[in-house]
């Protein structure tokens, strides 16, 4: 049926991990709820609608805004590089590093660079790339991928961090979070000062200003983009917004949706290299615009709203499935509900055909999405695509036969009643109206077995509503 990863079961069976995920996401949920409460933000729903409309307009006119961005960045003395895939980004970074004799790259948090595995690609060529976001730094030391779009080390306790620091940095066991931060800072300060290239992501690309906007709380993105002589911002093409005047809207939504912050600690508006009359800033400024499959999504009118995502992570925090299975159960770095809709579109639905089905379709994700992506609708669409692909490939198997039978029976009311009554007569019926805990061999089929692995099953009613209604009318 589905070959979901074993990681799902392991995560659910780990009480420590369950507690860590539940507490961290719960905290983010309540911070968000506080921040958007009607008393503080009566216009919240209206902002979502506007953000959705602006994103729709931008995505529908992406070619126009990409050109506008490029011309503005160029006018500021920067350079725009269009890259089709991960290899092209790596080639660009490696080529530039070679030309400039660069040895060390500092990086601030960027899901896009995680998406293309940039660190691994450049490290193969004797370049050192250091993550400078605290969570990302911890994960880099531990050789793990981000657990969450916004809070990458959400699953780790300070005791685990202490162990990682002791093992990798040779420091004494330190469990106080403030002191752990000091340890990381002392290592990273040296890296910032020595770095030749700084790489950041972008939360928004502002077309009319030729600017890269980065929000953060630690100051490491600001340092990454200003201390080294070269700044490279790497972003997916969907990160565009048309105008600087659209920013307040998106910034209001992003901080509140992600962490409940009205504003993040740092908001950097980066446009071009240092001008002659400026003290700070890089000598060179590059904006790398990554496709990596995004134009494929763009081509599909039904599903292109997946590209509206501003990566706030709210859908992860509010997803009851993410909160049980955690970020590492998903096949790609994009986890949670948004991961469930974009992963199949990037990789093809048959790479992880179980993924769109790993949802109760509760809709909590769509309810909190700041740009109103209809995630459940897209999941349903992707499910039907999986079924179509399996049918074409002849691998739909018993499930397909099961649903054919279901549809056939449900168009034959008398037969449906008869089948139901046969099940009631010959099926298991525990004494005293109790529910069923186990079933005899004949009924021991996979769905029943899976149901009973977790909970009891109601016995069919002695008389159906159809029968009772007839008796009642007499």
């Amino acid at each position: 049926m589905t070959s979901a990863p074993i990681k799902i079961k392991e995560t659910i069976a780990d009480p420590r991990l369950q507690q860590a995920i539940y507490t961290a996401t719960g905290r983010l949920m309540s911070h968000r709820a506080q921040a958007i409460q009607p008393a503080l933000m009566p216009e919240y729903q209206e902002l979502r609608t506007r953000a959705h409309e602006i994103k729709r307009h931008t995505i529908e006119n992406l070619d126009y805004y990409l050109e506008l961005l490029e011309s503005k960045v160029t006018a500021h003395g920067g350079k725009v590089i269009f890259c089709r895939d991960a290899a092209e980004v790596a080639d660009f970074v490696l080529g530039l590093a070679k030309e400039r004799g660069a040895k060390l790259i500092v990086k601030s948090k960027s899901m896009t660079t995680e998406e293309i595995g940039l660190n691994e690609r450049v490290e193969r060529h004797q370049l050192e790339a250091v993550e400078t976001d605290l969570g990302e730094y911890i994960l880099q030391l531990a050789h793990q991928r981000p657990y969450h779009i916004v809070a990458p080390a959400l699953h780790m306790t300070r005791y685990e961090v202490a162990d990682i620091f002791t093992e990798k940095l040779g420091v004494k066991n330190e469990v106080v979070i403030e002191n752990q931060t000091k340890i990381a800072r002392s290592v990273l300060r040296e890296k910032f000062l020595a770095a030749d290239i700084g790489i950041t992501g972008a939360n928004f690309l502002v077309a009319d200003s030729g600017a890269v906007l980065v929000v953060e709380n630690e100051g490491n993105a600001r340092l990454s983009s200003s201390a080294p002589k070269i700044h490279i911002a790497i972003a997916g093409i969907e990160k565009l917004i048309p105008r600087a005047q659209d920013l307040p809207l998106f910034l209001k939504l992003l901080g509140r949706s992600a962490t409940g912050q009205a504003m993040t600690v740092y908001t950097s508006f980066l446009s071009g290299p240092r001008r002659s009359d400026e003290i700070d800033g890089p000598d060179e400024f590059y904006v790398v615009l990554l496709d990596n499959g995004r134009t494929k999504l763009l081509a599909n009118a039904d599903k292109r709203e997946s590209l509206y995502c501003i990566r706030c992570g709210a859908c992860l925090n509010h997803c009851p499935v993410y909160r049980k299975i955690g970020g590492h159960s998903y096949p790609w770095i994009y986890s949670g509900p948004i991961g469930k809709i974009i992963t199949p579109q990037f990789h093809g639905v048959m790479q992880d055909p179980w993924l769109p089905f790993a949802s109760s379709l509760c809709g909590a994700c769509a309810e909190v999405c700041p740009v109103k992506i209809d995630i459940p609708k897209l999941l349903l669409q992707l499910r039907s695509e999986v079924v179509e692909a399996k049918t074409r490939g002849g691998t739909a198997g018993e499930e397909r036969r099961g649903f054919r039978l279901f549809a056939w029976l449900m168009q034959r009311p008398k037969l449906f009643q008869f089948a139901g009554r046969m099940a009631a007569r010959f099926g298991p019926r525990p004494a005293g109206g109790k529910w069923i805990s186990k079933v005899p061999g004949l009924f021991n089929i996979e769905p029943v077995r899976n149901w009973l692995s977790q909970r009891d099953l109601p016995p069919p009613a002695p008389k159906s509503f159809h029968q009772l209604w007839k008796e009642r009318k007499k």
């Binding site: 089905f357 379709l361 809709g363 499910r383 009631a424 109790k434 899976n450 209604w469």
Partner: protein, 236 residues
Amino acid sequence: MPSGRVSIFVTCIVDQLFPQVGLAMASVLERLGYRVDFPEAQTCCGQPAFNSGYRDEARAVALHFLKVFRDCEYIVVPSGSCTSMIAHHYAELFSEQAKPPALPVWEFSRFLTEVAGVEDVGARFDGVVTYHDSCHALRELHVKDGPRRLLAQVKGLTLREMDAAEECCGFGGTFSVKFPEVSGAMARTKIDSIQRTEAGTVVSIDSSCLMQLQGVISRAGLPIRTMHLAEVLASR
């Protein structure tokens, strides 16, 4: 005073597993002065196939439903999920040209509060209850206050909110058997929240959620029972 005829769609799950819910719904409607009509050729709305990705099969069942319930003045359903399937998702099964006319389909509690315009149906139920918001009712039909207002008018009943009222019970149709560990873990989180209220009864407007919750309650031997809103409102 309300009057007229309502047609009930009891849903396949109520028909075969929980028929008392359908009877309770009919008796509340009759008590309010409605003539209740039960189209006997009804089966299922098709949601199991639709949610599993089998759109052709779902469409076939939907067409049967549309045939059985054509020309009804009101269709009342004891389920938010099935109501949403009919009201919202049927449209996705057909092309623009073949779109069926919108049906006058109402989730039971919403029919009472909005069409019948009643909150006190003359029920009596002694005990503390907590209300579980079923996801499709809450997020696709925006049913939230109505069931609570109806419960508040039941004599002898104390409504005590749980902290995770809006969190999914983990049923999710075939999700419950495709990802049993996840589904079970979600249900147990919900049950923990219910237990913290110390309510003896958990009430919902969807029998499928209640089947999931009761299944876990039964397995754990907990002193909690599940009741559909219609059953509470039919109590006297």
